[in-house]
Amino acid sequence: MHIIVCIKSVIIKPEYSGSVRSSEFSELNPFDRQALEMAFLLKESLEKGTVTVISMGPKEISFAIYEAMAMGADRGVLVCDPSISGSDTLATSTILASAIKKLSPFDLVLFGTRTFDSDTGHVGPQTATLLDIPLITYAQKIKLSGGFANVERTMDGIKESFEVELPGAFTIHHMANIPRDIGLLGIKESFDEKLITVWNLNDLNLSQDSVGKRGSPTIVLSVKKVTKDRKCEFINGKPEEQVQKLIDKLIEKGLLV
């Protein structure tokens, strides 16, 4: 059983975006932790298998892969190439799909449902499409038996069950499990004993036209921080009058109808 988990190092201090991606300014995407936990639970339930984590970006983001390996992943792959900078979600999915193919054979590809920083939720579904494998999003439970996965998810109060032939891709709901704490021995083994394989575009047989800004149909024109001024208004009068004035104001602002 080979389980691949795609992870991302997300920026937590936006003022430094674009320049510094080390752990001082970034962290392992919190939504990826449930995907990792799902991979470990599946591996433990089968008592065999390998969990590989993949990420892409500059070398500084290796810390996120080390963290995933400290949690329990067996090995890590980092796709690192100057030309992938500026990739949108399609270019990212193209790179990840190539890396996943290179890691064949595989049985499951897991993703978080979205990322904490760009928050698109595109990468899981797009990568599954490029790999031409079935996809279940927001999976909460996965059980494996004989080349199939039985998957459950609850959407809008409706519980859905699926049977999927493997290999398959799954985005894991953030309430699917409680990710494990990282133990100290895990950290030591991750940094001292486990390996991160680094691949560039040549290793993936990808052209520069399919990645980075050149391979990205999405063009972000600008990113600006929006600040909202808050205003505190006091309403006077007896309690009944205050309630009426508050209701009037809310209606006036279109917040109550």
């Binding site: 080390s22 752990s23 001082e24 962290e27 290796s62 810390f63 080390y66 963290e67 400290a70 704490d181 990282i182 133990g183 100290l184 021995l185 950290i187 030591k188 991750s190 940094f191």
Partner: protein
């Protein structure tokens, strides 16, 4: 603050920090008020490797470096001083001496359960009449065939109420003075091993500090650590490492008090502005930040020297002295910034103040540290 740390050390900090925020911080105040040791938390910490931080993997530990160790103690103590105390004393002056001076049989027997946190360690040196002058201990270990008969009255034993594996400093040769002191491991459950009442302390209340009395307690001679007469050497070696841990503990408490003070200074308004706008408050914040940073550099330096296999005794003493005195000052200023509220149990700074105070006393008083430092400067 972590700009120069390796990603491995940063990963250690992230892990313990997230554990503390989730598990320890929510109950830290209750642990202090109820003087309760949190067994449930300790059990989880044991499984995560916090009771065998520097123990080699083969003996059930995490095999990390001293820098990781101080980062861990700093973070635990930031959340709860008493629990930080438990972990540092267990690792540095209980487990480490067995690792450094124990034979293979002893290491294989005692270390794995200690490293997993299944058994808790204690360092039993202090007696009613022997504190700073460790050579004044009166405990005796008299040989009787294959056994030592231990008689001792040990006081202020950190972890005393929960300890299973205790390093007892006792005289094996009452005529030999300083050279007649040895370390013998006594285990809870042995007849004559008596745990006294818990001390009702001002701070570090989550730690079950107690007396331990040994009354004609027979332990096998194979429980002797090192050789007879090596007691003070073992003790001082352990305390060198222990001091870095206590310094890290003081640092953690300082950081906690500092962060609370900065937060409060930004929120509390007087004269129509947050008090942080007043220069008098800013001066205190600047002094706190400066001394905390200096403490951290001294501690990390001592830890790095130890990791590099270089002498670190003087540096450990300097770090402990400076960080512990800084902690008292910082907590004092944090209370001052909080004003009347700082003197109330509604805010955490009064707990930090109580916890910080003892770091100037235990594992060598500030005065003994000055002696040690001066001696090493004048004779070195």
């Amino acid at each position: 603050m972590d700009a120069l740390l390796s990603e491995k050390n940063r990963a250690v900090r992230r892990s313990i920090k997230s554990f503390c925020e989730k598990e320890i911080l929510p109950v830290a105040k209750d642990l202090d008020q109820e003087a309760r040791f949190p067994w449930d938390i300790a059990e989880k910490m044991g499984k995560l490797g916090y009771f065998g931080i520097q123990v080699p993997k083969e003996l059930g530990g995490a095999g990390l470096d001293t820098l990781s160790y101080v980062i861990i103690i700093e973070e635990i103590s930031k959340a709860c001083g008493g629990l930080g105390l438990c972990v540092t004393v267990h690792n540095s002056v209980s487990v480490y001496p067995i690792l450094a001076f124990g034979n293979e049989v002893q290491k294989n027997k005692w270390i794995p359960p200690l490293a997993r946190g299944e058994r808790i360690g204690a360092f039993c040196l202090t007696e009613p009449n022997a504190g700073s002058d460790a050579s004044g201990i009166e405990a005796t270990a008299i040989k009787d065939g294959d056994f030592y008969i231990l008689n001792a009255n040990k006081v202020f034993v950190t972890n005393g109420g929960i300890a299973d594996t205790c390093l007892i400093f006792a005289r094996t040769n009452p005529e030999a003075g300083r050279k007649g002191i040895s370390v013998i491991v006594a285990e809870r459950g042995t007849p004559g091993f008596i745990v006294g009442d818990l001390e009702d302390l001002s701070g570090m209340r989550a730690n079950p500090v107690s007396s331990i009395r040994l009354s004609d307690c027979r332990v096998p001679i194979t429980n002797l650590l090192g050789k007879e007469g090596m007691g003070l050497t073992i003790g001082l070696t352990a305390l060198d490492t222990g001091r870095i841990g206590i310094a890290a503990q003081a640092l953690g408490i300082s950081v906690a008090a500092f962060e609370e003070a900065v937060k409060y200074a930004k929120e509390r308004r007087q004269f129509n502005v947050p008090i942080a706008k007043h220069q008098a408050i800013q001066m205190m914040i600047a002094d706190m930040a400066t001394e905390i940073e200096a403490s951290r550099l001294l501690i990390y330096q001592a830890a790095r020297l130890r990791d590099a296999g270089k002498p670190f005794s003087k540096e450990a003493a300097i770090a402990k002295l400076f960080a512990s005195e800084t902690s008292s000052k910082v907590c004092d200023m944090a209370i001052q910034i909080h004003g009347g509220y700082g003197y109330s149990k509604s805010y955490a700074v009064e707990r930090y103040y109580r916890d910080a105070r003892v770091t100037r006393i235990y594992e060598g008083t500030a005065e003994i540290h000055r002696m040690v430092i001066a001696r090493s400067v004048l004779e070195g």
